[in-house]
Symmetry: C2
Subunit: 185 residues, 2 copies
């Protein structure tokens, strides 16, 4: 799971309450991953149980009291571990985009690491493009054998085309990202 790690990543910037985290998370990583407050509070609790976080009750007078979470050494170790161990070839399960989550926190590690990530991601996209072109060819062959499928097949190919275009875009992005990271040396 990466949500937990995304939360640690943000708490690493500065200690926060669940309330603040919820807003911060959805504002910063929100364009590729959103989480509900109820889930975030639950994860926070679980991470405290695991010893990744500690919390402290802060009494307020102008507002309701709050609980501020901080990352422990163990939590930091876990985060760095998560950040630096990524296999883009392992089909990413779950909802969000674990690659982007790691890129987001790229500033915490050497630029070299992110560059490596991006280059591996390019290979992944290249592989995807080939697979999808293969799928389109297969569908075309099927239609030769069963011409009555032609109409349905048109739509099937549209979804494969989507994948192809998206993989090409991901490739383009990785190239631009590499350029941006390399240019300022």
């Amino acid at each position: 799971m990466s949500l937990k790690h995304g939360l640690i990543g943000l708490l690493n910037y500065e200690p926060m309450t669940g309330y603040e985290l919820t807003k911060f998370f959805n504002e910063s990583l929100g364009h590729f991953w959103q989480a509900k407050a109820s889930q975030i509070y639950r994860e926070l609790d679980a991470m405290e149980q695991s010893g990744w976080l500690t919390s402290e009750r802060v009494i307020q007078e102008d507002k309701p009291n709050k609980r501020v979470y901080s990352v422990t050494e163990q939590g930091k170790a876990e985060f760095t571990d998560w950040l630096s161990n990524f296999d883009p070839f392992k089909p990413h399960t779950g909802k969000g985009n674990a690659l982007l989550m790691r890129i987001f926190f790229g500033g915490e590690l050497d630029a070299d690491y992110t560059l490596k990530l991006l280059r591996t991601s390019k290979e992944y996209s290249l592989k995807g493009i080939k697979t999808l072109e293969g799928i389109i060819d297969e569908v075309n062959e099927e239609v030769v054998k069963q011409p009555e499928l032609a109409n349905s097949a048109k739509y099937w190919k549209l979804t494969a085309l989507f994948g192809e275009i998206m993989n090409k875009a991901a490739l383009e992005w990785a190239d631009k990202a590499i350029e941006i990271l390399e240019e300022e040396d």
Copy 2:
């Protein structure tokens, strides 16, 4: 949920067993949505409970016996309903891509419907591009205020750039798809 509807969609082509469905699903829609056999059998069971499917035990001599699922009238109604009611502006939760799932089964409806879907999807992408450009601007403003964020911000912007490029690609895809669907009139 769309997995259920994807399964009905395939069963609509022809009645199948859970075993066949699992393979068929992952081979056809697999490039944007994958499901494990254990989940598919569970959904099949749930849909039979809901009256969307009926099943029949088929005794085989050369192979283990099997259970063949067929779509009921109620299931077909549910499927058509799902297919023709889609709000691309409702942030799509869950894992797979519900838009693509609908496009995949576009052959079951008027081409006009899919065209409408694609045009709405374009608006959605356009909106996304603007939002992401806005995010990049905001991050840049933040960096002016807090120059020490510059390094981290570089990575944050990389994720926004990803979103921007992806949305542009989705736009490009929708245009091509519209072209393909329109050309053969």
